[in-house]
Point group: C2
Amino acid sequence: MFIPKEELDSRRNALQEKLQVQGVDGVLLAQNMTMYYFTGTMQCQYVYMPASGLCLGLVRRNMERAAEETSVPLQRMAGFSQLPLLLAEAGHEPFRLGLELDIMPAALYLRAVKYFSCEIVDISTAVREVRQVKSEYELAQLRQAARQVDAMHRLVPEFLAEGIEELALAVELEAVLRKMGHQGISRMRSFNQEIFFGHILSGDAGGVASFLDSPTGGTGISPVQPQGPGRRIIRRGEPVSVDYGGIYNGYVVDQTRLYSVGPIKKELERAFEVALLIQEKVCEKLIPGASCDEIYQTAAAIAQKAGLSDNFMGRGDTQAKFVGHGIGLEFDEFPVLAKGSSCLLEEGAVVAVEPKFVFQSTGVVGIENVWRVCAKKPERISITPDNYLVVNHH
Amino acid sequence: MFIPKEELDSRRNALQEKLQVQGVDGVLLAQNMTMYYFTGTMQCQYVYMPASGLCLGLVRRNMERAAEETSVPLQRMAGFSQLPLLLAEAGHEPFRLGLELDIMPAALYLRAVKYFSCEIVDISTAVREVRQVKSEYELAQLRQAARQVDAMHRLVPEFLAEGIEELALAVELEAVLRKMGHQGISRMRSFNQEIFFGHILSGDAGGVASFLDSPTGGTGISPVQPQGPGRRIIRRGEPVSVDYGGIYNGYVVDQTRLYSVGPIKKELERAFEVALLIQEKVCEKLIPGASCDEIYQTAAAIAQKAGLSDNFMGRGDTQAKFVGHGIGLEFDEFPVLAKGSSCLLEEGAVVAVEPKFVFQSTGVVGIENVWRVCAKKPERISITPDNYLVVNHH
């Protein structure tokens, strides 16, 4: 088994507690990553979890591999229309069935409505709430991801040079990560959101927003891949923001560091110092029960006091309305340290805190590290030093 | 403008013809790739297309970039609930509204049901039918992608060696593609489907199926990335199947070639020859009006005659039920040369034909090339020679 049985049991118990409170009889999980989280195997399948008792994996392909990887009981199935009968035979006849409506396609939802003659409720918030709290097992994976991305950052000075394209730096760093076992694929749960390793942005490319709900975008390679590193030439004295994730056994540590060839302008250095101050003050508040909105407001107030409100987390009408986000198997997990959020932090939640300042003509400066919410103060998962690094060779 | 206005007009006209036939008043497009296809820009937006007249882009972020990239009229919007009013103000009050229900999340669909008091129909088949026929503009992109992946294949003998991991070969080839401008991200439309560059599989890893609806899977790096190249060591005399896509301006040329260090077993070489024969016979049938099911049956019959039915397109209950698939901005476009398909080929459709044979203990052998359906015989888009290559150095 790739994920220990006790770990899977504990994850199931956490969701089942919520199902019982919400009066949901069972959930039919359908998203690859959620099914992996609760079973330890990623197949062409559905997973039924009753409000109490064991899960049942309903596997189309492939049973052989699923059986090797999971301790969850398995059953073959040929298609969706079979599910109600197969579940009834296993003793499951839900009156209130939970589905992850935030990401399940409408056509599949309509099939569920047709084949299950029962009430259907959206269970996606409960699933995401369970997934946001990381276990010791998950922390061990995150710590390995932190080592991976740290090793990459230590090699940036070797590859960063005046006159090369952002893409050239990106290709070198992607190869470094892949050789250390980075899985390649970066995953986001939300519809229409995607990312390839992350954002390496120089100079005014740091000021280009994209469809991605993020403080940075970048030009990318073309309008059909309009984010991340592009063909822009890196020049002396420009900020180069390296925001690439390490991924180990699926778990991401999203991390940003600031570099340049030759020193950047004083106003950018000053903004970088403000980002570090925001990180410090935000982390003082990363404790169980803290309000995500209040944390965002704390950050925004420091930006305002520094006269940088218009540059905080983006610029103009493309500003992101958060200063940090949950991270784990996906880049966009709960909780979000967002303006107006009613969410309170839970112990064990893991967040990437990323205060950044975006200047249209000069670029982006900021920091990003991953933290675990603990009783008194957060545990830092990222291990790379925070300092801005001037590369002076060449 | 990145995509010429005439190209966008022609794409719109093609979908509008279908809308008129189907009595749909307009479609609200919501998937990034479909919106890009019809507007030439990828933003956080929705795109409304009436059954006749111009499209309207409803842009949340960012307007600046959208205006630079598209000739489609644009309007700012703040959120989904505003859409009915904004559309009514622009003269659009559909009674029958089309949505891409195959990929639109259920929660978004339910918001559409709530805010639009009209009939909602699934328009995804019409959208995919329009997108399957490629224009001269699109062919130009595909030809560049073919050059990119060809250049990669020509470097395989330089990197392939006995004793290295699949992943090591993969990292080198990924870097080659990226340096030539490959965008990194590979896109699939279908729910829960994903791919990172493709599959590089050696020996018995070629016999490992995954959740992906494909003849091959591979071990991948771990159960959380359970497809594609992994940590397996490549040995002498094993088939090494290199199935990586070239991508230029978003357009994919998916292509597979067979390599080995030292010769493979005779039975595998023979199966490879059968794959070449299937390719030849399938291509004779790639003409407008041909039945996708009949094409599949032609291929399956050759496999059967060669005594290879159990190995064709996978093995046992994990066999894929197709011999080729549409390709363009996504890896899983229409048409699918699938068993039981009622689809007839259209002139201008572009398909990746990939006859492959999978042997549990020895691996996968086969070929994949991209073709355009033309009046008398298909045009070959792939330019790499088909031959199996034995690498003998080291």
